[in-house]
Symmetry: C2
Subunit: 193 residues, 2 copies
DNA sequence: CGCGACGTTGATTTGCCTCAACGATTGTGG
DNA sequence: CCACAATCGTTGAGGCAAATCAACGTCGCG
């Protein structure tokens, strides 16, 4: 079953009973999106968190000049959402888009709350994920402040080996904060070393 | 009492009984640091969260070239810690330093856990803080990707009006990710507008 | 007083961007 | 199933934002 992947992810942090697993399964729904499909657009309210089963999702915003800036890339086993909108219930600034054909599990915010109330271990699971996400984001800020684009790319490759070769490099450039042109030159330079 | 400030911060999110407040108070200790004092150094394990009563704290790391990079600035009513080290129990990369004479409340990780067990509302309080911190950090990443230094400075001023004029601008430059020299020119340019 | 931290200003350099042109690949509709 | 458009990656030339290096004035403080 597709939901097994989610159960495995949860099992890494907390242990659920069979009934709890069943209740969880009853609250998530499976969906498949084609490449380029938008799961969320700017100014929408993000009601769902998405757990990627297969494929890749990207969250980004678009600045005044129309340039995309990638906040996160999520592949198999990762959650993605517009956390600001999801938590505050207000319209957000992020788009969430399928980079390739992608299958996800959707969890509605209200259902997540039900799960929290009924199964405190689920609450703990998401708490750990949020903590890890905070730590990763702080590290990314420090990297942005202290490393060159080249060093950031090397860290990205080390940290996300699965993503590195699967997404068009235009998106990695956008994640790192450089233009596709510069990223192309940079990569070639690294190869000759 | 100094701890009133913390109780007020908590009261914004959850309601504690008198006994719960008393228990909380028994677990935090007050400390005062002189300007330039280090509360935490690189490679140390961060055992405490610090709640600023009066003064300003700064968390930063130092890169290979010896340059400081500011992760956060915390003034009255804010918490600060090396979240990675605090949560993982491993040595961290951050320094925490008093920018001016500063009075804080210290909360040991073990005591925080005691509070979580005894008072679920405290758990909820910190959870909200962590969520807000995650959102703020994600916004900062997006700002770093999509805005010029000038625009980032304007947002910083809007978001942290209390800090803006209180800390040496060398630290704001470091927070924004520019050199003190460039920050100086930038500020002058903004004044002439 | 004198030292150290901070801020400013100037000259020069550089990392990265912009604009433009051009293959290669892909997928999609006719 | 092919033709065409769209997307992606690469390369070149030129430009700009921000860094670097250096010098100097100011202030607070031991």
């Amino acid at each position: 079953m597709l939901v097994d992947l989610l159960l495995k992810s949860i099992a890494k942090h907390v242990v659920l009973t069979e009934e709890e697993q069943a209740f969880l399964c009853s609250k998530v729904s499976q969906k498949t999106y084609k490449a380029k499909a938008l799961l969320l657009e700017e100014n929408e309210i993000c009601h769902h968190s998405f757990f990627v089963i297969e494929g890749i999702l990207q969250s980004y915003n678009i600045d005044e000049q129309g340039v995309k800036h990638t906040l996160s890339l999520a592949t198999t086993g990762w959650w993605i959402a517009d956390m600001y909108s999801f938590l505050s219930g207000k319209p957000g600034q992020l788009y969430i888009e399928a980079i390739e054909n992608t299958t996800v599990l959707c969890l509605h915010k209200d259902d997540q709350q039900l799960l929290f109330d009924r199964i405190p271990k689920i609450d703990r699971y998401f708490r750990i994920l949020i903590e890890n996400s905070l730590i990763a984001n702080q590290q990314r800020i420090i990297d942005n402040l202290s490393l060159t684009a080249e060093e950031r790319y090397e860290r990205f490759c080390a940290k996300h080996p699965t993503i590195k070769d699967k997404v068009p490099q235009i998106h990695i450039a956008s994640y790192l904060g450089v233009t596709p042109e510069f990223f192309s030159r940079m990569k070639r330079k690294l190869l000759t070393k």
